[in-house]
């Protein structure tokens, strides 16, 4: 039996300390598997609920987004992809900005001085020079619109792939 109240209090504190310190940082594999199942389950629920979406409505919105996402950028002409998933915004001065819908939000890149473009019928594929970001695909009304846009891009530093 512990004697004084002070000793009993010290023993209680020591027990609490042992409980807190426990077995160090070991990780229970069942907790790990459970966490992984939880992760996949939640992502599946998000998909089942139909969450997400997001589109760039029109050229005016593309211009507004480009100015918001790229500091100091002053938009000139905007061209929104027909599928609402991408846009090209020409600068009042300097290189253009491309936008793509990433998740449910727009992500932007100012194009480098030289970049490559590829025209396939009514679509233009713009290489951003940023591999993780990837290419931006603009779907336009028809092949003539794609050619016109490509001409503008060439004057801004774009090189068509042959």
């Amino acid at each position: 039996m512990a004697g004084s109240a002070a000793e009993r209090r010290d023993m209680r504190r020591a027990r609490r300390h042992r409980r807190l310190v426990g077995a160090g940082g070991a990780m229970n594999p069942w907790v790990l598997l459970g966490s992984l199942a939880g992760v996949l389950g939640l992502a599946a629920v998000a998909r089942l609920l139909g969450l997400g979406g997001g589109r760039i409505a029109d050229a005016a919105e593309a211009c507004r987004l480009a100015e918001a996402h790229v500091s100091g950028f002053v938009a000139g002409q905007g061209i929104a992809s027909l599928d609402g998933q991408a846009a090209l915004v020409l600068a009042a001065a300097g290189p253009p900005v491309v936008l793509k819908v990433h998740g449910a939000q727009p992500a932007a890149r100012k194009l480098p001085e030289h970049f490559r473009i590829n025209i396939v019928n009514n679509t233009i594929i713009i290489e951003t020079g940023d591999r993780p970001f990837g290419a931006v695909i603009l779907t336009l009304a028809d092949a003539a619109a794609a050619r016109d846009t490509a001409d503008i891009l060439v004057s801004s530093g774009g090189t068509p792939c042959v």
Binding site: R19, G22, G25, L51, G52, G53, Q105, A107
Partner: protein, 295 residues
């Protein structure tokens, strides 16, 4: 060691599910399945990385604690004091994590989602140990707080920060907004609007930001845009976890002179010798010069 975060996981899952249902009813764009999966996988990786380094961190904490001139006992007042001081240490860490590229490289993962929901809260670093983020807690051990007490307080601190990653709650009561970190204050922290960049670093108590001049209130006329200045545009979890470290390595390789090396490592994110990239300060300065702060 007792880990309050492990015990909180069922609540995390339940609240994420509830928030998804609200998103389904109000605005489906608040969640994106791929972004959610990326955030949660990054959280999962962070748990594994944390478990791998926990032993070393705890050992180090014990070594420092043994140097303390006094050892603080497990009493109610010690818990309360430890919680407040740990939150102050968190403020110092978090401010550094945004202002020093070395720490930002580790912390950027948490800001790399362009969504702001409860799954974003779980998007946590994989490289916290490597970046030596634990040094910000060392003063607490030197003061004599037992490591187990400090880590439990730190866990509770992180659990508190979970619920503030939401757009579902607009404002809390005024007295609460005045003292505590809230969804509104933390939305500001995650925003890339020039007005909001690098503000509201608090963990639990927003008073630290008010005290140290880093507080900005959310405004209805300046809706937060979430993410980072140069958004990744990728759901690759490895890229999200390591892209800033890759950037540092590339800059170090191409740098000339010790000043450039130090600047790339410990300067603010975006620092370059010639100022050719944007930093938070240059973005804010440009915005102010364009009349952004007027109104």
């Amino acid at each position: 060691m007792f880990d309050p975060i492990t015990h909180a996981v069922p609540f995390f899952i339940a609240l994420v599910l509830a928030e998804m249902l609200v998103a389904r009813l109000r605005d489906r764009r608040r969640y994106c399945p791929r972004d959610t999966l990326t955030s949660l996988m990054l959280g999962f990786g962070s748990t594994v990385a944390g478990a791998l380094s926990a032993g070393a961190v705890f050992w180090l904490a014990m070594q420092v604690w043994q140097l303390a001139p006094v050892h603080i006992p497990y009493t109610w007042w010690a818990w309360a004091l430890c919680f407040v001081l740990d939150d102050l240490a968190y403020y110092a860490f978090h401010r550094s994590a945004h202002r020093v590229r070395w720490f930002w490289a580790s912390h950027v993962i948490h800001h790399s989602s362009q969504h702001y929901n409860l799954s974003t809260a779980l998007r946590q670093t994989w490289t916290g140990f490597f970046s030596a983020a634990f040094v910000f807690r060392l003063p607490l051990f030197l003061l004599g707080f037992p490591p187990a007490m400090v880590f439990v307080c730190g866990g509770i601190n992180l659990i508190y920060q979970f619920w503030i990653h939401t757009e579902v709650i607009d404002r809390m009561p005024r007295w609460f907004e005045a003292v505590m970190n809230t969804p509104s204050h933390h939305r500001v922290h995650h925003a890339t609007n020039p007005r909001y960049l690098d503000r509201n670093y608090a963990g639990v108590f927003i008073v630290w930001d008010k005290l140290f001049g880093s507080f900005v209130a959310e405004r209805p006329d300046d809706r937060p845009r979430y993410g980072i200045v140069r958004n990744l545009g990728s759901f690759n979890i490895l890229w999200a976890a390591f892209h800033e470290w890759v950037g540092i390595a590339r800059d170090i390789v191409s740098a000339r002179g010790w000043r450039s090396h130090l600047g790339y490592l410990f300067g603010p994110p975006g620092w370059t010798p010639d100022g050719s990239r944007d930093t938070s300060d240059s973005i804010r300065a440009r915005w102010l010069a364009q009349g952004g702060g007027v109104s």
